[in-house]
Structure formats: C-alpha cells, structure tokens
Symmetry: C2
DNA sequence: AAAGTTCATGCAACCAAGTTGCAAAGTTAC
DNA sequence: GTAACTTTGCAACTTGGTTGCATGAACTTT
C-alpha cells in the first residue's frame, strides 16, 4: 500500500518540513538512485547544504539508503517500508556504464559469502557494473 | 614462484624506473591494501603526483588493482601473477571497521549473481565490512 | 658525440564532492 | 509573547584526486 509523504516521514520519526516533503517527493519519483548534485539540479531555490543535511537525516532514519557505486558521488534511493538496513535487507546495486544510472535491484539479495575464520561480518555491499536493460538494444 | 621486481614490471610492460621499483617494493611488503596517502607517508622525497601516476600506470597494466572500500580513499593492492582483472579474476574485499585495514580475500571469489533480464555484466565488486581476525579477540 | 625524441618526475595550481560554522528564520513550548 | 529548539542558507573549508607545464633523464637517430 502506498503511503502519503507525511506518513512516510512520520513513520521514520522525521519532522515533516516543507523542504523535506519536496525532497521526498523527488526521491519517490526516481526510478534510479540520485546523487546530491543531481538532486540540487531539481531545485532552483534550495541550498546544497540543506539538501545534504536532508539526505543525511533521511539516511540516519533509514528512509533512504546511500550507494557508493564507485563513480565518486554517492547515490541515494528510498528504502522499502520495512527496511532496517540490516545485512538481510541489503540488495545488489547496478551501475550502467552507458547511461550512468544506478539501479536498486531490490529483488536481488546479496549472496552470502563465507569469510575466513575469525572475520566477522557487519555489512556488505555488492555493485555490478555493465549495461542496463534500457541501454541494451 | 616469486618474481624479482624487474621481472614483475617487465612482464606487465612497465618500464622499470627507480621510482617504480621503490613503489613496487612497498606494495609487495603490504599485507593489506594501501591508499595513495599512506603510500606517500612511506616516502620522504617522492611527490604525491608521481606516486599517483605510478599507481595509475601499475593499474592500467594490471600489476595492481584498486579497491573502493567506501571510506573515500581508494586502496591499491598487487594482483596475482595471472590476474587480468576479468570478472573471473575478481575476489571479495574486506574492510575492518576497527583497524581500518582493507584486505584482499584472494581465496574468496565473488559469488555469481542472476541479474534481471537484459542486464549485462561487465564487472562486479563486493566489499564486506566487519571485524578482521587480528582485531577479533 | 650531438641533436632529436620520448618518457618520467616535480611543483603548482586546480577541481569535485562533501562538510563545518554560524547567523537568520521558522517552529514549538510555556 | 517570550524563550528554547530546530531548520535553513550562505560562506568558507577540507579531502582526495587530477591537470598543466616545465625540467630532467633516457633511449634513438644521424
Ligand atoms: Mn538500493
Ligand atoms: Mn584485492
Ligand atoms: Zn543504461
Ligand atoms: Zn581489523
């Protein structure tokens, strides 16, 4: 079931300010993850720092997660409603080397890996690079 | 069989200058991956840019590979002799959140993953974060 | 051997992304 | 309405990485 924006914010204990609602709206409209710089381009009035801090607040409260796709700029995407960003909640990300979009492959959990003895897992990230279905002809 | 430094360089078609031999020596002495800044600290005389370009040359010729462990500074480690940095050659990396060292888990290949239809894989990276065996008591 | 060519190195300056400090504006509590 | 707290905006800074360019070393050609 779809949530209205204020519910999404309230559910994550984020005070719903005008700015935050606008940022959340942009985030829900994305089909791929978005960087701070890209987010900035979507606004003419808002300051980069405010957007930065908004994303930080969202991430701290697990409304969004960040993705380091190796391009040098961190991408952000909405978490699923039940996501707590535990290792179990994590999914694979895909970076298209043609269109430079970063996809959440929400249906593809990160495969488990056997670490050497006495190595302890806290979190894990998996980024696949290649050509996305839009760019593949 | 261990190779002497010049052979390692020659095998990868890298002209063996004094600087490159020194950098290679440092790299072979590492048990964990090293950043440009860390490498710089190992020299009192060499310029950061020279070290940067040395690493770049090494990487382009697949003598070393770079690791984006999510810390914001890229790490570098020697490739195995046969490595061509193909998807098949890739291994899992481990970043210890206590000692902040980045390990090549050379024996742990990256598990294969089924991508959505029409997504095409070129390369893949997997970084596990947690506590390493040295830090685990 | 001298001159030309290529490549490596060093210094300075630049760049992009992210981050901090602080004051002004807005919001909530009393 | 005033005080306390939170959010926002501007400026300035930090870090890691990168480029431009001049000097210097090392091979190549004649
Ligand atoms: Mn995602
Ligand atoms: Mn490695
Ligand atoms: Zn694409
Ligand atoms: Zn450790």
């Amino acid at each position: 079931m779809a949530q209205n924006p204020d519910n999404l914010l309230n559910n994550r204990n984020i005070k719903p300010t005008a700015m935050r609602e606008l940022v959340l709206k942009v985030l829900t409209e994305q089909t791929t993850a978005i960087s701070l710089a890209e987010l900035e381009h979507k606004f003419h009035k808002a300051d980069k720092v405010t957007l930065f801090r908004t994303l930080k607040t969202f991430e701290e409260n697990k409304l969004i997660h960040s993705i380091d796709d190796g391009t040098g700029s961190v991408k952000y995407a909405l978490c699923t409603e039940s996501c707590q960003c535990n290792p179990d909640d994590l999914h694979v990300h895909f970076f298209c080397t043609l269109c430079h979009h970063t996809f959440c492959l929400n249906d593809i959990p990160i495969p488990s890996v056997n670490l050497p003895v006495h190595f302890n897992l806290e979190s894990i990230s998996m980024v696949v690079k290649g050509i996305c279905s839009n760019c593949k002809k």
